[in-house]
């Protein structure tokens, strides 16, 4: 007969092992949802903490001085919300301090704003003054310019009436003119009322680069007997306008007056070949005949 005592012991051991493993498996299976729930909760807590930290960061960014001045108790309360012990007197004190600092900051801001306003007002006033000055300056300049223009118009009148002037200068209408010296083929007196004639003409020429002005200057110099200058200005006019007959004639006449007859004839002959002008022929004959 079999002895079951030992066998029963073995059976108990076997059952214990089987139930132990089964219990472990069941416990593990049952623990999965709880574990996942716990993990989920943990994750949420982390998120909340993250939010908290981010808030702290934001506060720090907005008002770093206030954050720095926060006492340790506040941090403790924020980081360990599970401990509900809060010192209200200290909190109030802290609140007061924060309020005071905020007030200071606000005052400082207001003061800054006021200063800014003042500065801006000053700047505005200064700009206005400057603008007024500039306006006055401009007015004065305009006035000056107007006066100058008026003067220039006078000069221009004399220059614009160049034909008459030329007539005067050429001596054809000297006798007819009542304003000028009635008698004699006299030279223009540059030191008289038209003493600033040449500078004005020269400036005008520089502004316009008009060959007509250069011819007028050349003519004036020629009449005044300054043949070197008349030659120079006649050449200037000729350079600007090759077709201008007067520039050719004045240049040749000036040369002839300076004793350079051959050169004068050469110039006139070459010009005559081009234009066949009788006036030029007449001048050539005059120079050749020694009547010039």
């Amino acid at each position: 007969m079999i002895n079951t005592v030992e066998l029963e012991k073995r059976w108990i051991r076997y059952k214990t092992r089987i139930f132990g493993s089964l219990f472990f498996i069941l416990f593990f299976v049952a623990a999965i949802p709880y574990l996942s729930f716990y993990l989920f909760e943990q994750y949420n807590l982390i998120v909340e903490k993250d939010k908290n930290t981010s808030n702290v960061v934001i506060v720090e960014q907005l008002a770093p001085k206030i954050e720095r001045s926060l006492p340790k108790e506040i941090n403790d309360v924020v980081l360990s919300p599970s401990i509900p012990i809060i010192d209200f007197t200290k909190e109030k004190q802290i609140d007061r301090e924060i309020e005071q600092k905020n007030e200071k900051i606000e005052k400082a801001k207001i003061q800054k704003l006021k200063e800014d306003k003042r500065r801006k007002a000053k700047e505005r006033a200064y700009r206005q003054k400057v603008a007024k000055r500039r306006a006055l300056k401009r007015e004065r300049e305009l006035a000056k310019k107007e006066s100058k223009k008026r003067k220039l118009i006078k000069a221009k009148a004399s220059s614009s009436l160049s034909v008459n002037e030329l007539k005067v200068l050429s001596g054809d209408d000297i006798k007819k003119s009542h304003t000028r010296e009635p008698k004699g083929n006299k030279k223009i007196d540059f030191g008289g009322s038209s003493s600033n004639y040449m500078p004005i003409m020269k400036r005008k020429f520089q502004e316009n680069r008009n060959p007509r002005e250069a011819i007028l200057i050349a003519k004036a110099y020629y009449k005044a007997g300054n043949y070197i200058e008349s030659e120079k200005w006649a050449l200037t006019a000729n350079n600007l306008d090759k077709e201008n007959r007067e520039s050719w004639l004045l240049f040749a006449e000036s040369k002839a007056k300076l004793g350079k007859r051959k050169e004068a004839l050469k110039i006139l002959v070459s010009y005559h070949k081009k234009t066949k002008s009788p006036e030029v022929k007449e001048l050539i004959d005059k120079i050749k005949g020694g009547n010039f």
């Binding site: 007969m1 079999i2 002895n3 079951t4 066998l7 029963e8 073995r10 059976w11 051991r13 076997y14 059952k15 092992r17």
Partner: protein, 269 residues
């Protein structure tokens, strides 16, 4: 003898045909085997894993036909050639040979050839995997005389194909394979064993679940099942004598089944 002692003894691995349980699959195999003996076959091979009922089938066949046919059963393998030939001759001639004499194989062949058409002798050889190749060759030559017919059993081993090819390829005309019992076959086998001997109550207490548990470890092998149930009812016997309160006659004890499995090494503590 106590009830459980009797039940226990039912599962002792014996070749007692009184305890033989004819399962459907086994009945079919037996019928095929019996019909094959009437055919002009030289050899019939019965093979299967150990404990599938080969020896039991041969025993039953012998017990059934011994009175009707010239049939001889060598239940234990005779490994000595001299002894084997002597036994063959003695079985055929019904004469005993003196101890100092031996049977000449050529003389035996001639003896068989002389009796061609007159006799049809059947030899049932169990555990043939133990015979030598030389002896197997002699068995083949004897079967060629068409006077002697051999029914041999082989364990289904890895080299079974080699054996079949080398020795019996051209001579075996019938091959019967015996297989382990299915779960249902095993339930029928256990219940029939118990019911045959009048233990209906115990038979009814064994549930399908219990049979599944047994089949799980024995794989439907009859020898293993017998061994398992022998241990089970051995434990039952112990409780019957010492702690009868632990036995529930209506429900087969799972605890005892597990204890038997632990005892046989199917389970480990």
């Amino acid at each position: 003898m106590s009830k459980y002692q009797e039940i226990k003894n039912l599962f002792i691995d014996t070749l007692d045909t009184d305890n033989y349980v004819e399962l459907e699959s086994m009945a079919y195999n037996y019928q095929v085997l019996e019909e094959s003996l009437d055919k002009p076959l030289k050899m019939i091979l019965l093979f299967g894993r150990p404990g599938t009922g080969k020896s039991m089938t041969l025993t039953r066949l012998y017990d059934t036909l011994k009175d009707r046919r010239d049939i001889h059963y060598f239940d234990a393998p005779i490994l000595s050639e001299k002894e084997f030939l002597k036994n063959i001759y003695e079985a055929m001639s019904s004469q005993s040979i003196p101890q100092n004499m031996r049977v000449n194989f050529d003389g035996l062949l001639k003896y068989c050839q002389k009796q061609r058409g007159q006799r049809d002798v059947v030899f049932l050889l169990d555990e043939c995997q133990l015979y030598s190749e030389a002896l197997m060759e002699k068995i083949r030559l004897l079967s060629d005389t068409r006077v002697v017919k051999f029914v041999i059993t082989l364990h289904k081993t890895d080299n079974e194909e080699v054996i079949a090819k080398e020795h019996f390829k051209t001579r075996i005309w019938e091959v019967i394979e015996l297989k382990n019992a299915t779960e249902n076959d095993l339930q029928v086998y256990i219940q029939m064993k118990l019911v045959q001997k009048g233990f209906v109550e115990v038979s009814n207490s064994i549930s399908k679940r219990d049979v599944r548990f047994i089949h799980q470890y024995t794989k439907g092998n009859f020898r293993e099942t017998n061994k398992f149930l022998y241990v089970v009812f051995n434990i039952y016997e112990f409780y019957e004598k010492n702690q009868p309160q632990k036995i529930d006659s209506k429900k087969f004890s799972k605890k005892i089944l597990e204890m038997a499995a632990l005892k046989l090494g199917y389970l480990h503590d």
